[in-house]
């Protein structure tokens, strides 16, 4: 006899965990399947975790959730060949009882999630790869097939939280392969180092953290960004670019990462640290226009598998948790109302998403991915021109300031032309309006 659940959740990342926990807490019989050796074994995140969405699901998460440092300072750096120009925002008020952002180590958080799920009666099974969705003759999803012996499991509804590759939806014809310009590849390393050194180099106390978001020459003109985050006893450094750009270039991602680590302004910050893991992961970057069908008869898709990522603000895990929670709440509400999980009824999930920051933010930035992809000057020419301009401005060499202004303006115009500059300004406004 095939075992039957109220709901099956595929994947133990932020979206799957949020969905499973929410369902189990309301007393539904829920099974979460994870292909990794343990929860988190297949997951990669920068990572910054935003508290607000987690708080909605587990209000007292701070009691035992193994976060790293709460962020008190955010830096944004534009790198030149041997320089950076940037902004910092630091505030003592980020040292509150309930900080808003934390650096995290993904695997630690996912193990903690596993414990929380067990506490509310959810069943999480690892080392099990789901190979396909099971559908009845009408096409309704009624369960999943796994790579375990006799691994057929049935449920009233299946929530796909299987991450950016979204193999199950693709195999079932519910999604198409992501275009190379709609996904980025990011690589990162975790570097262990004496916490005292972290505190000295970044000017912070124990538990306080700094994050640096980076653009510029290190991506070699490709559309991409890099980052450096402070954990308790380690630093995380990474870089990612659109796959379409990696494909048209000839620089392997690990070479790009190595060049970042050796950049003259980065190197002193990570000096002496010991590399303990190298990871790679794809990131959905296509935004609003790349969001696939989100529900159908007997199924919902959440998190990265639904292409929920706000590239402009580097938010992903909060969209994942929020979408997981909304999917679960939709299922709970339909069950309570005695309604079936038909596509028409599950459309309530899409309504929740549309009414939330998830779709509102993705919609606001709907033009951004296309504009960035088609205008490489934002990642090549501008970082170059801006760092050179600042360098010129701060070099005191008896050239009068008016002449310096002219030199800078001339350099920008030579690179982009007057119309080019005006056009770029319009494009930027369109991209973020």
């Amino acid at each position: 006899m095939v075992e039957k659940f109220d709901a099956i959740v595929i994947g133990a990342g932020p979206s799957g965990n949020a969905a499973t926990y929410t369902l189990a807490k309301q007393g539904l019989k829920v099974l979460q399947l994870e292909r990794g050796e343990y929860p988190g074994a297949k997951n990669v995140q920068g990572g910054i975790m935003y508290a607000h969405e987690l708080e909605k699901i587990i209000p007292d998460f701070r009691d035992d959730c193994p976060t790293e440092r709460h962020i008190i300072e955010q830096r944004v750096w534009l790198l030149g060949d041997d320089s950076y120009v940037g902004t910092n925002y630091r505030s003592e008020s980020f040292n509150s009882d309930k900080p808003n952002r934390y650096t995290i180590i993904r695997a630690n958080i996912d193990k903690w999630w596993g414990e929380q799920i067990r506490k509310v009666g959810g069943l999480q099974i690892c080392e099990t790869t789901v190979t396909e969705l099971i559908r009845d003759p009408s096409g309704k999803v009624i369960g999943v097939r796994t790579d375990r012996e006799g691994g057929e499991i049935h449920a009233d509804v299946v929530i796909m939280a299987d991450g950016v590759n979204a193999l199950l939806a693709k195999r079932a014809g519910l999604q198409t392969e992501a275009a190379p310009e709609n996904v980025a590849l990011a690589v990162k390393e975790i570097l262990f180092i004496d916490p005292e050194l972290i505190q000295q180099r970044f000017g912070i106390k124990e538990d306080e953290g700094v994050v640096i978001e980076i653009m510029g020459k290190v991506t070699k003109g490709m559309v991409g960004t890099a980052f450096l985050y402070t954990n308790k006893e380690s630093l995380t450094i990474g870089i990612g670019c659109l796959i379409s750009d990696f494909k048209n270039g000839d620089c392997p991602p690990y070479k790009m990462l190595e060049d970042l680590k050796n950049h003259p302004v980065i190197k002193p910050l990570i000096e002496g640290a010991e590399m303990k893991e190298y990871a790679a992961h794809m990131i959905p970057e296509g935004g609003y226009k790349a969001v696939p069908q989100l529900y159908g008869d007997g199924w919902l898709v959440v998190g990265d598998a639904a292409h929920f990522n706000n590239a402009a603000h580097r938010e992903g895990s909060n969209l994942a948790m929020a979408s997981g929670r909304m999917a679960a709440e939709t299922v709970i509400e339909l069950k309570a109302a005695g309604k079936g999980y038909t596509a028409a009824n599950l459309a309530a999930y899409k309504k929740k998403l549309d009414d939330s920051f998830i779709m509102k933010d993705l919609k606001k930035y709907r033009e951004l991915p296309g504009i960035m992809h088609g205008n490489k000057q934002f990642f090549g020419a501008y970082p170059d021109e801006i760092t050179s301009a600042v360098h010129n401005w701060f070099t005191v060499d008896s050239v009068d300031k008016k002449t310096k202004e002219k030199q800078i303006m001339k350099s920008f115009i030579k690179r982009r032309s007057v119309m080019g500059l005006v056009g770029d300004a319009i494009k930027l406004v369109r991209a973020v309006r």
Partner: protein, 97 residues
């Protein structure tokens, strides 16, 4: 800066549970690789699982695979890569992620 980067040294730090003789990714047709002028998989894969070989084709060794999916996305116009996840419990096992 023109230095060689040894990705093997990076991968060496990782924990893998290798499913002996059951590669989860396969090249469908050797010939299709030979006729691919870009062979982008050989420089896009973050674990350097793909390398150009003497016959003009591409050799795939999945042992260091990070299961990111980049090769599948890169090769979608040729659709010459059969991409699957490893069996449950096998493959990359991130300690930190």
């Amino acid at each position: 800066m023109n230095m060689m980067v040894k990705v093997e040294e990076k991968l060496y730090q990782n924990r893998y549970i290798v499913d002996e003789s059951r590669p989860h990714i396969q090249i469908k047709s050797e010939e299709a690789c030979k006729s691919c002028d870009k062979q982008a998989c050989t420089f896009c894969c973050p674990a350097a699982c793909y390398s150009k070989n003497e016959t003009g084709g591409v050799t795939l060794v999945t042992d260091g695979c990070l299961e990111c999916g980049t090769c599948r996305v890169v090769c979608q116009d040729k659709a010459n890569i059969a991409w699957d996840y490893p069996r449950g419990g096998y493959g990359i096992s991130y300690k930190f992620g």
